[in-house]
Symmetry: C2
Subunit: 753 residues, 2 copies
């Protein structure tokens, strides 16, 4: 057997050499006839190489063994292709979803193991789908704006076809012409038509849903060698223009500017840095169709140079996505993002393997692949497995990074400041499509993968049928998207842009400056001028490592300038147990809500205080670590302890706390805060280490249109000065400033000493 | 150097052979003169054996290296012996506490490494203590019933002396006669007197505090060879009787029956099974003085046969304690127990090593020692290190176990039912001394170390100074100890025994039966007749593994018999997110408290419902697993969702939920519930597996004084019958019962089929 494989290898090598002397094209493109299969993801050459290495590539062998066991059990259990009936989480939904994965994997096994039982299984199940599909009306559940046939939404039908195209490619040569005609005419072609021509409101737009649709149509087109389908995938449905004012289920515009097709879907949502406008949770979801279709295009239509499209943005986006995760690999839950989703998800196995293989063979990716502990069973997975086997893996070091948003990188962005175990995620992006939240200049803060100040994320239990069918809950709109649910300023108890998508989607925040050159002082500064007309918010956030403090601390300067008097609410969504405050507070006997709309209706007030000193402090303990917030207050300020969970008739919300600073009757104002992570507590040793703040005082020593200067004094009396440039900040500009008779000279966007 | 060691070894071996031909005494007792040092914990022979093995015993070598690095850093930093000033958590407290550990470890290093710098360091610090101690009045902080001098309470002074005795023993021979006299006369003797003769309310009683006192006095007595101190340690202060009615800070009696001394402290709190009456958290704390003093006695006074005392209860107690931990090694938080304390604590390193060395060399203990990843640097640690090195470790398998309570094992007990990943802890013990809760027949339920239904534990942040000095918070009494804080029945909104320790401490529950022979059906049943005069509660709890269910489920039958009409509240302290109920509930706009005393004042009502069917169901999700409670209700029952945290002016309580079943106007009644653990949810795959209950119906088919029979029907309609014997249950008794014209015959305490 081994010898036979070796012979194949030699044979193919010769063919390849004959066809092309360019090494690149030998390894990475299909130089053989379009009619050869497999060609889409697995390639004929890849299969040969894999077979030759089997038993000798540990992570690949292990993945193969796992998948073989899984599929053998499925084959044992028998095929079920039920008549569609349920929403997400229900039996028929789960079964058809399961089937798409099983088909794709069984196809791979047939190719790699050359065992016909897998081909037969795929064929048998596809024939049952063919039998069923031609009888199907629209799915009986009506909640979607674009109903599928196998599933309640076209989106899931598209998922199915993206995977099943791969299975079909793998057994293509196993089938007779007649069988292929039957499947293509009764199943694949009508299937592709339903999710595209019959569902333009789903297909003909720039949206993650459409990307799935495009990939589905394109991939089956590549396998079937159907140019019309391929074009429809790349460029959208020919000559079709949709009403640009219509909206989808989530409140997003259906097709605001008439763009459509896979290339437009790459063009629009990705910034040049690879940031995806809906945020990492949806990027992770969208990555699979982007990358798997790109891999197919690369293999079958190498002349398109898809991985070089838009300056290589697809591969850049993988790097951006990996950087949008915390120390545990969990994605930051920007916009609608379910917490706990991480780079261990299978879409990221695809992303990491493809990025390694088709990119620059970054050895850092191999260490992530090792943590993922599995690879794709295809050419790229083989490359990763060989890289790991040959000891090439190196740590994937996440650094501070600034990711622009918008197709041209001119619609704000997301800055991540990192030092030691502290990570700060500062969002000054555009709206983030229909999944965006009204959270301009919001942030969240992490220590070693644990939340210090949280972003709530979404209100949804994805795929848990008992919770609203696994779909968005109404609290997602009434709570999770609202400004007050975020660590930013709410003005007059209304959300940014009045919580209106039509307005929000026209605007974005603007970077003032980002500076990460000095690893001890990481700073990002951005301005928002449209969330509240007449009010400007400039927020400057820094992670500062200073010898006077145990760990890097966060400094936060929010400068608000308004043309009228307002009420500002500024919450801190801390997690854990209150340890100490330096202010006296009262706790009410009965809990009432803080307000009746814009998210306020979901907050109970658990404690109230009048700030009485210049610095108000709250210390808390979470997961064995102490944290202290120090914030500048005046005696007119109120401090509120709030708890999420009011007006929550189905217990959809988590009962989590915040301290809220409320400043009334203020026009221009400055919020200045520091958060220290310090010390530790172990319930095993029962020792509390460094449980007190090291910060004695925060003080504004200057605040002008151009500069804001904050003095930070530690417990020993050591004082440092941080000066941020509020206007026209630049790396080069020289500054000369007198504060209290002392001259400060520096060049760049900030001063710290 | 090595050769020199070898020579020593030969030399000692010869001496040993001359002195005794009994191998046992060679290895485990000090056959050499009482004046030889070290002799207390490290022994001269032990030191020789250790030195001979160094470099060849990985876990020992690693521990030594860690401790050496730690102590070298301390020596580098210099000595500080501050004037006492603070409560727990404050600087002087923390420093003196640190010093005792450092002294003990430095002493060990001197003996093992033969480097005089360690001896000098210990001497220098002891001399500073001598200098300070003779000037000290009582500690300035006055909160304790028995103030120490170095610390605010004698308890901590005793901790200090227990450790420092070991350090003194290690450098005894390094010191001159004059130096020893100085230390003994000005420091150790007055120190021992202060915590005993001068503080009889602390010393002269049966209590974990006194155990520390006894051990401290006894250990320094053994080192100093002072018979009077040794006797005072073993038997208490001679001829002293205390007022038997006085109470300590925690509300416990100071000395109810006049017993005192180390032997009485072994006699009283341990049951013959080794259960410690205050529960595992305090047992863990008490174990160190028990075992370390016992080891010292064993070494210096082998004729006392301390490890055989009371049928070997000290070693049995270690086994009991290890069994009182969950799958992660965390102790069940019975009574006042801080969650998270586990067998990774250093006291358990002592316990495991001593149990292995002086017990039966149970290979299961070696696997725990491996997890602890360190050993004692003494003879027992050497034995463990050698055992591990020689590959003797085997898994420590925790099984179902019934631990009797009370000096003679006749005061109820604690039953732990285990099957697969499910653990149920059922408490039918005596009051548990002053640290007991009013929680008769309460239980908690775990899956793989995670809480399904929690026991709240205590209300205290041990050693976190900002939270009430790290001491018990007032909510410990007003909430944590109250009956309503536990998973058991509260009658008429009053706690068991009216929450009075004087009454509670006179009573205990009584075992009906415990059965663990059939691993698929683990049952414990117990009765409480005194908590509410005129009311009897018989609770039968089972963990049943049945093929109709994915995992073992809990069945709970609480039979209440009363001489009058009452209101019963029966809470389920679930953790996590509500997923589904089969009853409609209303959530109030404002949250008010459930009551105004006995713990009710700490509960907000978050939801209310009238039960409308025979079975009320609640499903929830916690840490990726689904759970469903099914409980028998009638249409008069109320269901309340409660949340802890009302009347909590300093945020001392955790905001956690319960579902509470309230049954009014009932005299005799039956509560029957099942809890299923089922399925899983992963935020990475986003797939919800088996998220629905498999239980269709719970039904009472018979309930008499003698028998209660519950029918359990699963979703497929398969019905099983569980019959429990309510009176005079025994393994042998034969039963014959007709239910609905069908005969059931069995022998034993229960029937299940």
């Amino acid at each position: 057997m081994y010898k036979k494989l070796k012979n194949y290898l030699v044979f193919f090598s010769i063919i390849c050499l004959v066809v092309s002397c360019n090494d690149e094209s030998v390894t990475k493109t299909d130089s053989i006839s379009q009619s050869q299969h497999p060609k889409l993801i697995l390639t004929a050459q890849g299969v040969t190489a894999i077979r030759a290495q089997l038993g000798n590539i540990p992570i690949f062998d292990k993945t193969l063994e796992t998948i073989k066991a899984e599929i053998d059990a499925e084959i044992e259990a028998g095929i079920d292709v039920p008549v569609p009936k349920d929403y997400s989480g229900g039996y028929t939904h789960v079964k058809h979803k399961r089937n798409w994965f099983v088909l794709q994997k069984a196809g791979l096994l047939y190719q790699i193991l050359e065992d016909e039982k897998y081909a037969k299984y795929v064929k048998d199940m596809l024939m049952q789908y063919e039998e069923l599909y031609k009888t199907l009306p629209l799915h009986p559940r009506t909640r979607s704006y674009a109903r599928g046939k196998l599933f309640w939404q076209c989106l899931n039908d598209s998922n199915w076809l993206v995977y099943v195209s791969q299975a079909y490619d793998c057994i293509y040569n196993y089938l007779s012409d007649e069988e292929r005609n039957k499947l293509e005419n009764n199943l694949f072609k009508p299937f592709a038509d339903h999710i595209s021509i019959d569902s333009p409101q789903f297909y003909q737009r720039v949206h993650n849903h459409s990307t799935w649709g495009n990939a589905a149509v394109g991939m089956i087109g590549l396998v079937m060698d159907d140019q019309e389908l391929i074009d429809r995938a790349l460029y959208g449905i020919k000559d079709l223009k949709l009403d640009t004012k219509e909206k989808d289920d989530d409140g997003g515009f259906l097709n605001k500017d008439g763009k459509a097709g896979f290339l437009a879907n790459i063009e629009e949502p990705f910034s040049p840095d690879g940031y995806y406008n809906e945020g990492p949770y949806y990027q992770r979801y969208a990555m699979y169709p982007f990358l798997i279709f790109a891999e197919g295009l690369h293999n079958v239509r190498p002349e398109l140079k898809i991985f070089e499209y838009k300056d290589g943005v697809l591969l850049k986006s993988i790097n951006a996505l990996l950087n949008l995760s915390d120390a545990d690999g969990d994605f930051f839950p920007l916009n609608d993002g379910q917490k706990g989703m991480s780079y261990y998800t299978s879409a990221l196995v695809t992303a990491v393997d493809i990025s390694y293989h088709f990119g620059t063979q970054d050895p850092g990716l191999l260490s992530i692949a090792k943590e993922q502990d599995r690879v794709l069973l295809d050419d790229s997975g083989l490359a990763v497995a060989l890289g790991i086997k040959n000891g090439k893996a190196e740590p994937f070091n996440k650094k501070s990074i600034n990711l622009s948003d918008g197709p041209n990188g001119e619609q704000g962005g997301v800055a991540i400041l990192r030092h030691e175990d502290i990570e700060l995620v500062f969002k000054y992006a555009a709206q983030g499509s229909s999944h965006g939240h009204y959270d301009k200049l919001s942030y969240s803060l992490y220590e070693k993968g644990e939340e210090i100040l949280q972003d709530y994320g979404l209100s949804r239990f994805v795929n848990i049928e008992q919770k609203g069918g696994g779909n968005y809950l109404k609290e997602n709109k009434t709570w999770a998207k609202q400004t007050i649910a975020h660590n930013t300023v709410t003005q007059n108890e209304t959300s940014h842009f009045n919580g209106k998508y039509e307005i929000g989607s026209q605007h974005h925040s603007v970077l003032n400056y980002f500076s990460s050159e000095n690893k001890n002082i990481q700073v990002a500064s951005a301005k928002e001028s449209n969330a509240y007309p007449g009010t400007e918010m400039l927020r400057t956030m820094a992670i500062i490592k200073d010898e006077d403090f145990e760990k890097p601390y966060m400094l936060d300067i929010m400068k608000v300038t308004s043309n009228k008097v307002n009420k500002y609410d500024f919450p801190y969504y801390f997690l854990g147990q209150v340890i100490q405050t330096n202010f006296d507070y009262k706790t009410p006997k009965t809990l009432t809500t803080l307000g009746d709309k814009n998210g306020y209706q979901h907050l109970f007030v658990e404690g109230t205080a009048k700030a009485f000193s210049d610095n108000s402090k709250l210390s808390w303990l979470n997961k064995g670590k102490f944290y202290t917030l120090t914030t500048l207050t005046n005696t007119n300020d109120e401090l509120l302890f709030t708890r999420i969970g009011a007006n929550d008739p189905e217990f959809n919300l988590r009962r989590e706390a915040a301290l809220m600073l409320r400043r009334k009757n203020a026009k221009n104002t400055l919020f200045v805060s520091a958060i220290e992570a310090h010390g530790s507590y172990s319930p095993i040793t029962e020792s509390a280490v460094n449980s007190n703040s090291s910060l004695k005082e925060l003080k504004v020593v200057l605040d002008t249109e151009t500069y804001t200067a904050i003095q930070i004094t530690n417990l020993n009396g050591n004082a440092k000065l941080f000066i941020t440039v509020n206007t026209e900040a630049s790396k080069e500009a020289k500054h000369n400033l007198k504060i209290n008779h002392k001259n400060y000279e520096w060049s760049g966007s900030y001063y710290f000493k």
